[in-house]
Amino acid sequence: MGGPHLSVRYAGVRTDRAVLGMPDRLRVDWKFFFQTDWDPVNEQFGALSFVYGTIVSSLLALLIAVPLAVGVAVFITEMSPQWLRTPLSFTTELLAAIPSVIYGLWAIFVLVPLLRRSVQPWLARYLGWTGLFAGPPYGIGMLAAGVILAIMIIPIISSITREVMTAVPQQQREAVLALGATRWEMIRMGVLRNARAGILGGGILGLGRALGETMAVTMVIGNRAEIAKSLFAPGYTMASVIANEFSEATGDLYLSSLVQVGLALFLVTIVVNVLAQLLVWSVTRGIPARSRA
């Protein structure tokens, strides 16, 4: 037990070290990320269940968001009548302007009851055999987190997708159409195929957002440090555990464990973002960056 770290004279120095994650890394090492026990009272810290929760909720969100976001982008850039384009892109961007905490509030009082009453019983009946939709339908849990995350990352994925689709030269479209293709064939062969690296980049950028998203997830995921196969079960993410426990973490080891979780989150999002940025650049290179339509 490190003691109350703000009271001793040299405490400042000690907690600075703690914040850098130093004592923690020395003592716990890589095992930190492969142990599941999270028991602050007995100073047992393992982050595996948070890593699991973060990855599963984010992948679930991507699974839902990517098809929808690409659909929206295709509709806005290739199908919608001219007069509808600006209002549509403005409204989808409005989704990005809603603060995370308001999504969380909405999710608690609208989305979660909806999942509990209608969606989860339905999933359990028809897809229960997969084991992914087993157990009591609380509403709150991994599924709710995935859905709210999906809603939150759709705007970023669809705006990147729109950007890279606009970057595809008009001649490509005309060439495919001239060969007698229908509109969908033109989109598939002329546009999507040329833009796929950028779309992948958009998806990865969305993944980066989902990994670090905090408030809305914290409010609906259930905050239980467990690993369960069922998506109905409550979970915990790296960002949520920091949000919930950081301000009340007593003891250097507790605090630095949380900072270590934050450091891991930071490094992962950097890698993910760099990757995404490079992919998007590979498509839009040579085209002016201005495309906030």
Binding site: V19, T91, F109, I187, M215, L265, R290, R292
Partner: protein, 291 residues
């Protein structure tokens, strides 16, 4: 024979047309599915928010659990205080970096800064909260509005930097050359000619950044921390609207839930107003920038 081939042709083309139609329906369906939550969020906000919004909410501090009434006046004021600190710290740095990138940066170093800004933009807000905790809270040894402001300022910088750079690059080189031709020094040209021409665009960027941080909650949890009373001291823990919404939303009390909705409505109205203002300013900015 010809008719058979014709029929085969027709079948193929019918199938292709069918797929074309299906794809249109699917894309349209995706739009509807995406707009649905947007409408639902706004609908519930207005429906539940207006019902609980009253004068007391905007003028009083929170009442203890169990007592009806009370409001979030101190949280609104706290948000204003934190956002003010964030703007004072973040805006000059952001604009300065943008000017550097557009006017002075040559070659690799500029690219590195640009890349860093883009990466910083993607860093989770909760991580930035930890950084602010490390550089302000640990030093002061208590939570404070200043720490919250520093966290939000860090989040503002990349957005403002990139927007400023973009806007300055829109100003034609001829305008700069005209100034140089009149013997105006470089820094003077940058400040009084280039930056001034791009003013509305730069303001657009600043407001976008502002709208983005106004609803941020995660980095405030362990920097500004929250407070049930009035506070105007930058060195003391401060309430903030998003924090208050979070605390009330996860509480088990109906009265607090109602207030959370009202707070959310106030917050979103503030943000939507600034985003719409951005749109209008952007429309004008374009005209001015290219003239």
């Amino acid at each position: 024979m010809a008719t058979q081939a014709d029929r085969a042709d027709l079948r193929v083309s019918l199938r292709r047309r069918g797929i074309d139609l299906l794809s249109t329906l699917a894309a349209g369906g995706a739009v509807v599915l995406v707009l649905l939550p947007l409408c639902a969020v706004f609908g519930y906000l207005i429906y539940s928010g207006i019902g609980s919004l009253n004068w007391a909410f905007l003028t009083q501090t929170p009442k203890p659990v169990g007592e009806a009434g009370g409001g979030m006046a101190n949280a609104i004021a706290g948000s204003v205080l934190i956002l003010l600190i964030a703007s004072i710290l973040g805006v000059p740095v952001g604009i300065g970096a943008g000017i550097y990138l557009a006017e002075y940066a040559r070659g690799r170093f500029g690219d590195i800064i640009r890349f860093t800004a883009d990466i910083l933009n993607g860093v989770p807000s909760i991580v930035i909260g930890i950084v602010a905790y490390g550089i302000v809270v640990l030093r002061q040894r208590h939570f404070s509005a200043l720490a919250g402001g520093v966290a939000l300022a860090i989040m503002m910088v990349p957005t403002i930097t990139r927007a400023t750079e973009e806007m300055l690059l829109l100003v034609p080189t001829t305008v700069r050359e005209a100034a140089y031709g009149l013997g105006v020094s470089r820094w003077r040209t940058t400040l009084s000619i280039t930056l001034r021409t791009a003013t509305s665009g730069v303001i657009t960027g600043v407001m976008l950044a502002f709208a983005r941080i106004a609803g941020e909650t995660a980095p405030l949890l362990f920097t500004a921390f929250g407070n049930t009373y009035w506070n105007w001291n930058v060195n003391q823990p401060t309430a903030a609207l998003p924090l208050q919404i979070f605390v009330y939303a996860i509480s088990p009390f109906d009265e607090w839930h109602r207030q959370a909705w009202a707070g959310a409505l106030v917050l979103i109205v503030l943000i939507v107003i600034s985003v719409s203002a951005v749109r209008i300013a952007a429309g004008r900015g374009m005209l001015k920038g290219t003239s």
